[in-house]
């Protein structure tokens, strides 16, 4: 890891997009997340790292209320998006998820054509007035996901026929097409080879110009490469949160240091 590069990385200040305070998550009797408070900035890539089972994916899924689909899951505490409480009864979780998009660990394209996969969100939310507008959204999203060149001649073919890396970029294009404000990525590269990983990382770097991106990753190199902010989770606790450069070179907590240097995990 190139430590010098990390230290010298410029740190811009952005306004806070998501603010979580005192969040606890329970799966039945299991206390999965313990009193986590964190703020996520706009136009920034935030990485969640930590050993398996530390609760980083669970916390990520709280940010767009995906945990609502799990019956035994209970979330307490306050999470705001643009100063609006997302667990307020007035908030429609379906609308929220349109604003806070999600990309999953395993590529999960729908069994539809490439075009229909990308057009899925815009169609549901009525983002396109007519066919040509929809075409435009699809092309733009595929271009942003660096997939347009590879698939522009076979948009009608099933999305499931693409390679793993292409499928994951298709899922990213699908998420981007809905025009979210925040993009949550749950280990988006864990099923990909190094080349596809590099492509997705490049893409994340571009996406941060418009979105706030939160990425869960097991690869500390990846967190160091793509993120500006890093949060380290351990056993359901948020141990340390700060500038990526600082976390990786000069962590305050001994647990963070142990994890980064490979002593716990």
């Amino acid at each position: 890891m190139n430590d010098m590069r990390l230290i010298q990385r410029t740190v811009d200040m952005h306004e806070t997009k998501i603010r979580a305070s005192g969040v606890d998550v329970f799966y039945g009797d299991n206390h999965a997340i313990k009193d986590v408070s964190v703020y996520i900035e706009d136009k920034t890539v935030t990485a969640f790292i930590g050993p398996s089972g530390c609760g980083k994916s669970t916390f990520l899924r709280c940010l767009n209320r995906m945990n609502d689909t799990i019956p035994i899951c209970r979330v307490t505490g306050k999470i705001t998006l643009d100063d609006e409480d997302i667990y307020d009864p007035k908030v429609d979780p379906v609308q929220l998820r349109a604003k806070v998009g999600m990309v999953f660990q395993k590529p999960n394209p729908f069994p539809k054509s490439i075009y229909d996969n990308v057009a899925y969100g815009p169609r549901i939310h009525g983002l396109a007035g007519d066919k040509s507008e929809l075409d435009e959204i699809v092309e733009k999203s595929l271009r942003r996901a660096a997939l347009w060149g590879e698939v522009k001649d076979r948009l009608a073919e099933p999305g499931t026929g693409l390679s793993g890396g292409q499928q994951q970029r298709l899922c990213i294009a699908r998420a981007v097409a809905t025009a979210p404000e925040v993009l949550l990525m749950d280990e988006p590269c864990s099923a990909l080879d190094p080349i596809a990983t590099a492509q997705v990382e490049e893409l994340i770097d571009e996406l941060k110009q418009n979105y706030s991106v939160v990425i869960v990753t097991h690869s500390m190199q990846q967190a160091a490469r793509v993120s500006q902010k890093t949060a380290f989770f351990h056993l359901g606790n948020l141990v340390e949160y700060g500038e990526t450069g600082k976390i990786f070179t000069n962590p305050e907590d001994s647990r963070t240091e142990s994890y980064i240097t490979g002593r716990i995990g």
């Binding site: 767009n64 995906m66 689909t69 019956p71 379906v94 609308q95 929220l96 998820r97 349109a98 604003k99 998009g101 999600m102 990309v103 999953f104 395993k106 999960n108 394209p109 729908f110 069994p111 539809k112 899925y120 969100g121 549901i124 939310h125 099933p158 499931t160 899922c171 699908r174 998420a175 809905t178």
Partner: protein, 489 residues
Amino acid sequence: MTLTWLVLAVLALAAVGYVMGRSRAMASAGGEIRALHSLPRYYGWNVALTVLTPAFGLMALWLLIQPVFIDARISSQLPDAAVSETTTRSLVMSDVRRVAEGLGQIGASKPESDPDEEYLSDLKSRLGGAGVALASDIDPAVYLAAERYRAGTAIGASLMWVAVLAVAVGGFAVSYLLTNKDFRARNTVERGILLVLIAAASIAILTTLGIILSMLFETRHFFADHPWQDFFLGTVWSPDFRGDSQLAILPLLWGTLYISLIALLVAVPIGLFAAIYLSEYATPRVRALAKPAIEVLAGIPTIVYGLFALITIGPMLRDYFAQPLGLGDSSSSVMTAGLVMGIMLIPFVSSLSDDIINAVPQSLRDGSYGLGATQSETIRQVIIPAALPGIVGAILLAASRAIGETMIVVLGAGAAAAQFDRGIGELVNPFEAMTTVTVKIVSQLTGDTDFASPETLVAFALGLTLFVITLGLNVLALWIVRRYREQYE
């Protein structure tokens, strides 16, 4: 009886083989199990299987072939004079078999001299007393043939005893002598088990083949007597046992398809919606109660559904729909049978679809929810398309059930074939009585009729046509399921 003893003898030999094979293996290893290639019981099984498999295989073959062989021999020896103008050789042969069987039952011994008329008429009354009723007096030639038949069967049975026991003992000897500590008994038993499994699978396949062949033969007889154009292209079904019948499949096929269509129109939406509710919306507790409750419907015998149609649904439809609307006044109608059959099919559609919807990976649902889709949007646009091949398969399986259904139709829709000459209005009126192919197959085969007439043989042609249609549907269903199954993998 003798067959039972033979089976028991072979089984006993196998049991002895198990014990002896096992102890020989142990002895060859000096009582040390670790010195053996396989566990001791494998050596025992090896001997037992080598005794059982060839012996029982030979026995099955022998039992199949012996009657055919003896029949052919006796039949060829039967003088032409014994076959009078009014009968056929096969009818005479069935007399021969019955006399031979009767002789065995009354334990008659062969007379010293050639039998005279007196002896034969006495024999006939004795046979009658034993429950073997014969229409006419016994022809001397038939009597001789029957005696030969009896003798041949007895010789065959003795030969079978000898051959089967020889094979069993031979298998015993060979496998017992092969048994020593280095013999790979485990691998041999593995192959033996494989053979048993293959045999089981072959029986299932061969039975299907046998059914098709027997249908084909009878159907050929039918088409030899009756023009196929009339059967496939005619429009009138009016069997007449004095001859001059019009036997067209179209009126029956129309009834079958119409009733099946209504049944599917009932079963597919209800079954599918029930499946969606159970798999996507219901809480685990509701699901645990509702799924078995729906599946109870599948366990009700179709005759009970038929009674329900006859005494409840039929009169209700007639009183509240058909008569007020002026569409007819019969309680047997296409609608009655279709509705009840639809109810019968609901569990087929819902249970299969439920399994298929559950098999759609959770990641697809997450993907859709993650884009801000609601539950019903996710179901409509992601889950149903992903599960569609399986659902289509379930529907086609339900369709083949509907096409083959008989009891509900007899009691719900009556037994009168559709009449094409009465005009299209009556043909498509769902409150008209109508009947299906299966019902007519039953009614053509039951009753006191000549088995060789086209009016009876038409049942086989109907059955074969139906078989081809349902086979086609099943093949189509399998093809669709296979073709699209791997989409989310």
